[in-house]
Structures are given as C-alpha cells and as structure tokens.
C-alpha cells in the first residue's frame, strides 16, 4: 500500500510518500489511521487533529469508513486551499 502526504501532513510525518504493508485487520481508512498513529510519534502528531485531515483512495476523495486494500494509493492532506 502506497501512502502519500501533502502540505503540513507531509511535514509532520516527515516524508512525502511511504510504502507500508498493514496487518490484515486494517480494512478501512479509520483502521489505517489507527495503525499509522502507533507507527511513530511523528505519525501520531500528524494524525492528532482528524477534523482537518482529508483522505483520497486511488486519487478519489473518500470518507474515513472507505475500505483500503493492498495495492491502494492512500493520500492524506489538509482541507484544500487552492488558487
């Protein structure tokens, strides 16, 4: 599973992307976030304020209840502030 981070989420996690192989009980975005929080203090800090974390699975905006599977590209980012 490929993870991508943007804006301050990227800065807090400390990398723009990483490949992970989550345990089989990680079935949706919420489960993935719980898994990531336990991964490192930086991840825990990045995912500290979930109200301002958005997610896209395979480049489509989804909710935290959306399923995730091996091979997915999962991106985390703040609310957009474009243009």
């Amino acid at each position: 599973m490929r993870l991508r981070y943007f804006a301050w989420l990227r800065q807090r996690v400390g990398v723009a992307a990483e490949e992970i192989d989550p345990p089989p009980d990680v079935r949706d975005v919420a489960g993935l976030i719980a898994h990531l929080r336990a991964r490192s203090p930086r991840h825990a800090e990045a995912f500290g304020e979930l109200a301002v974390v958005k997610v896209a699975v395979n480049q489509t905006h989804v909710g935290f209840d959306h399923p995730v599977a091996p091979g997915d590209e999962v991106a985390f980012f703040p609310p957009v502030t474009g243009g």
């Binding site: 301002v52 609310p79 957009v80 474009g82």
Partner: protein
C-alpha cells in the same frame, strides 16, 4: 478543451484568443485570472508556494471541466493552474469560458473558479516578511461560494 497544471507562467491573451480562434459561433468569452496578493490576513506576504497532488489534480480538473460543459452550452473551456513558488503580482490560475451568450460564459467561469478555490487539491504555504512560512487554512467564505452551485462531489 484545455486543462493544464504547470509550474511556468501562462499568457491570458493567448489563451483567450486560442479559445475562439477560427470560430464564428462564440459571442462571449469570460475569463478570470487569479494573482498572488502582497497582503493576507493583515500580514505582508513575501511569497507563496502551491503544492498539489500530481495525477489527482489533473483528473479532478478534467472532471469539473466536464461538469461545467454539462451544465452550460460552452464552445471552449480553458483551465490553467500553476504550482510551485510565486511572488506577489504573479499569476496563479486562469479560467476561460466561451459560449454563444454572455450569461453561460460568466456563470461557467464563476462556477469553475469557486470549485478551484475550494475543491481542487492544492495547498498554499505563505511566507511572511519575518521569514515565517505557514500553511493557509481553508476559508468558510470560499466553501459557501462553492456550495451555491450544489456540487456534491
């Protein structure tokens, strides 16, 4: 139909001309250019950097462009959005819409801009004069503008 996400500047006059070149059925071309301002939230802005999500951005821009064409009778739509570091006065974004009549051109142009400001996967990092760099938080006013159009995705 032109959708581009690029680091380099663009030429509004050339894009407007291209939208109508060789056509006789366009009566109205609306366009919008967004620029970097030297002031934001009461602070001097020295520069800003736009980060985007390559791949997803283009896909989303093409989707909203198709949505605009479905809502209004448009002969041409051009969306150019820059990323990277820009300074006050620099152009950031261009939308051009061409139609037979002005109302469709204006409405489609405003619709696309509202969407770009609120839904396109861009994030803005502002550098102030004291050297600080801060990620800009999303504005409620912008969300309200986009919600006018009842775009649900």
């Amino acid at each position: 139909m032109v959708v581009r996400v690029q680091e380099t500047d663009f030429d509004p006059g050339a894009e407007i001309a291209a939208a109508t070149a060789g056509r006789e059925d366009v009566g109205a071309v609306a366009s919008f250019v967004g620029l970097v301002r030297g002031e934001g939230g009461g602070r001097r802005i020295r520069a800003m950097t736009l980060e985007h999500y390559p791949g997803m951005t283009e896909q989303e821009l093409e989707r909203i462009e198709a949505e605009a064409r479905g809502r209004w009778p448009l002969q041409a739509v051009t969306i150019v959005h820059r990323y990277g570091r820009m300074v006050p006065g620099d152009r950031i974004v261009l939308v051009v819409t061409a139609s037979a009549h002005r109302q469709a051109a204006f409405d489609a142009c405003a619709f696309l801009m509202d969407w770009l400001k609120t839904k396109a996967p861009f994030w803005k990092l502002e550098e102030t004069d004291d050297g600080a760099a801060e990620w800009v938080a999303a504005k409620a006013a912008d969300d309200a503008a986009a919600d006018r159009w009842a775009v649900t995705r």
